[in-house]
Amino acid sequence: MQLVVNRRFAAGALAVAFGLTACGLTACGGDSPSSPGKTDTTGLAPASCPGVNLGPKPATLSLAQSTPATLQVLGGGAETARYTAEIAVRGQIAYTTTWGTRSAIGNKINVWDVSGNTPTLLDSVIVSGASTLGDVAVSDDGSLLVVATEFSGGSIVIFDLADPKHPRLLSRFTNSDTDPGVHTAEIGRVNGKLYGFLSIDPLGNLSHARLVIVDLSTPTAPRAVFTKVTGNPFVHDTFIRDGLLFVALWDDGMEIWDVGGCGSGASPAAPRVLGGVKTLNGHVHNIWWYHDPNGSKRFAFVGEEGSGTIGSTSRGDIHVVDISDPAAPKEVAFYRVTGAGTHNFSVDEANGVLYAAYYNGGVRAIDVRGDLGTCPASQQVIDGSTNLARCDLRLMGRELGIGLTELNRTIYIWGVQYLNGAVYASDMVNGIWKLTAAK
């Protein structure tokens, strides 16, 4: 995970330097940047968050339309007893979680060796008292594996990765605020301290969805530092980077919280909401704040998770949000796959490629370099109900590659991660895939 930049605190700066070094040496896992990008000291420091430099305005690119390439499948590892959920890859090891009930319930973590083309199963871990393990993340230093559990009495389970091939249980955190389930658990550092950001499912008519922040600095004794009822009706995911927390609030859109990055005194224990945006269609499920290789940090990618039937159908676009003013983000572009909907993201930031899991639509690779919010009228689509004009990334010629749809079999891709020239995808129906990255 990326570390926080808070220039008011020397300790924070040291932590940033250490963290960048760590991430540079060994790529980060989970929903985290694969490359830290260049440090940028010029550009926009928004008034609402002067502690964060959003870098220069990205250049406008003119791209020729071309047929997206096929992301070649290198190999697959099968899981047929359970449905596979999220994926996290670090080094030569991939961790996949399981979901729901197939012939067995989704209480298993699979550990895969992905050093070769074909992932091979190394080990597995059963988590008691769970029917779904919907999320998995590896800490930036590679020392911890954190898994979210659902239904019922949700929790996070923390494993020691001293031996990455064989996770060892360290602790389990649960309290009344994690009931009935932790839908996702993202982890990241703020001012050098590791935190978990837990999105909690709603329960009946008595309890709304919540966000719980847990101090993981002592992983054997996690400690809740903040809880907030939020999300309408769900809060599904978060993205933490540079002391800003991006929160996916379903029909309430995306919010940006200062948890220590703006230099305002906010912290994970006392966040401050900077602003938010309701993207078209709502259903805000996941987010990635993109740092491009030139230092620009103007765009966040928002995943819309519409209704669907697992294994058959899905719907939902990728929405591009300009966060130049974090107090008033605005939607500027989108990407749509007819007949399929997006789920989780991973971005190859060094090369400007967004990889999106697209359920029955496989894996999509999209060119996200440059200015995504500026395009000629011929590449714009105006929403009929709001009159919002947005650039269509497909019309902009940014669709680079498609993976797994060429296989003559049912696929349903939950998660994806880019790492070191390869793309790893978790497939609810089949297990894990390894593909070549987009050129």
């Binding site: 709603p202 329960l203 029909d251 039937t309």
Partner: protein, 439 residues
């Protein structure tokens, strides 16, 4: 249980006698039941016993004022749900959920002007949609289509007009379905949903109705879940004499689940059922084919999270159920009557559209199941003629002592509501007939 019922009835009878005896009708019912489901969601056979459908129903009137209440105590007796392979709804699957303690509680007014009979009812109860509640029909087991064919336990305002052979109803209500037996409706959502029903009475004892409903976010209490557009067409025939009864019902129902206006899932049901009675023996048969949306189960295979954590389902399954029922003549003991019965159901399931990842063999170990039930319908007092219609929406009956309508001595002690032609006709016939065929 039986003693409790007697006490309850006696207590209510005292209250009635101290007020206006001719204005109050009270009924108490309970069904001690044993069901064997072979196999069920545990992939093995289960045999369970409980007291199901324990209710106390009260009708009262004074002049043009009406009062209706049905208290349902299933929350105390079948909190885990009643084995009902294929059944689903309100967080239960393959078990019928317990209904709300306050099943109905309505106040209304009814009057006639120039051949037009009109009524207006408000409170908690049925929206004007679909067919009669299964509790008022000849079978103990609910059909799979309960949540496609009725809309109940809402805060409703229902207006009805009857002129000659035509009945029109219009109602508005809160879309959210109950979370549990004691849960409170979302009163602030009253008016977010509506339904209407048109009924034609072409022949004596026969009716044809068509209805439509727009239900907002029934499964997410706070809103922002999938909306439903429901349609239903029902043909019903019920004719009774003092010693015989012939009953038939044909029903088509469809529910479209919509995600912000777009069709997400279409669920269709086709049901036919009939019953005949001679010498006090009632024999019935039902065949049904109904689509069921499959959901992610929790650790308990008979439960699904409410609300779900997103808008996806596991697929649509198609259930075909053939049920046969036979009951012995009613026996009377004091104010309580009892009618022993047995029911046998042959159940099969197949993939629906879209099939998703649901696999009946994984869940049940087979695609064909049996369900056997034996019980005794205990009753004191006179049941509603119909459940799901109020005031002017109740068609007049030429012979009222039919189906679930009791004709025992207790009902003679508890006269029907005064000045209510729709029921008065039936009650008069009912008392005249003293039918041996009431359930």
């Amino acid at each position: 249980m039986r003693i409790c019922l007697l006490v309850t009835v006696a207590t209510l009878a005292v209250a009635r006698d101290s007020a206006r005896a001719q204005d109050v009708s009270i009924m108490a019912q309970a069904i001690p039941l044993v069901t064997r489901a072979d196999p069920t969601a545990t992939r093995r056979a289960l045999t369970e016993g409980y007291v199901t459908q324990p209710i106390v129903m009260t009708h009262a009137s004074r002049g043009w004022l009406r009062g209706i209440s049905t208290l349902n105590f299933e929350g105390l007796t079948i909190d885990r749900g009643e084995l009902s392979t294929g059944g689903y709804g309100e967080g239960y699957v393959d078990r019928r959920h317990p209904h709300a303690y306050v099943h109905e509680l309505l106040a209304g007014a009814e009057s006639s002007v120039g051949g037009v009979r009109a009524s207006l009812f408000a409170g908690r109860g049925f929206a004007p949609f679909g067919s009669d509640d299964p509790m008022a029909r000849p079978f103990e087991k609910y059909p799979v289509n309960h949540h496609l064919a009725q809309v109940l336990e809402r805060v409703v305002a229902v207006g009805a007009i009857r002129y000659g052979p035509v009945i029109g109803e219009l109602g508005t209500f809160n879309g959210d379905e109950p979370i549990g037996p004691g849960s409170s409706p979302a009163f602030d959502r009253f008016g977010d949903s509506w339904s209407s029903r048109l009924t034609l009475l072409p022949l004596s004892d026969a009716e044809v109705s068509a209805s439509y409903a727009s239900v907002t976010s029934p499964e997410v209490h706070v809103g922002h879940g999938l909306d439903q557009r429901k349609a239903s067409v029902v043909a019903r025939f019920s004719r009774a004499t003092a010693t015989t009864w012939h009953y038939a019902l044909l029903e088509w129902a469809r529910t479209d689940e919509r995600d912000k206006g777009s069709l997400a899932t279409r669920l269709t049901s086709l049901l036919g059922e009939g019953a005949v009675c001679a010498r006090g023996v009632v024999a019935g048969g039902r065949i049904e084919r109904t689509d069921r949306p499959e959901e992610e189960p929790s650790l308990d295979p008979f439960r699904t999270p409410r609300p779900a954590s997103d808008l996806a389902n596991l697929g649509v399954s198609r259930w075909t159920t053939i049920t046969a029922s036979i009951s012995a003549p009613r026996v009377q003991q004091g104010i309580v009557s009892g009618r022993p019965f047995i029911e046998v159901a042959r159940i099969s399931t197949a993939p629906g559209t879209p099939p998703g990842i649901f696999d009946a063999v994984l869940r049940y170990g087979t695609r064909r199941m049996w369900m056997y039930s034996a019980g005794i319908r205990l009753r004191a007092g006179s049941m509603h003629d119909r459940m799901g219609r109020y005031g002017a929406a109740l068609p007049p009956m030429t012979m009222g002592d039919v189906g679930t309508h009791s004709g025992n001595r207790e009902s003679e002690r508890m006269p029907p509501m005064a000045d209510m032609p729709s029921t008065r006709e039936s009650q008069m016939a009912h008392h005249a007939s003293a039918s041996r065929c009431s359930l």
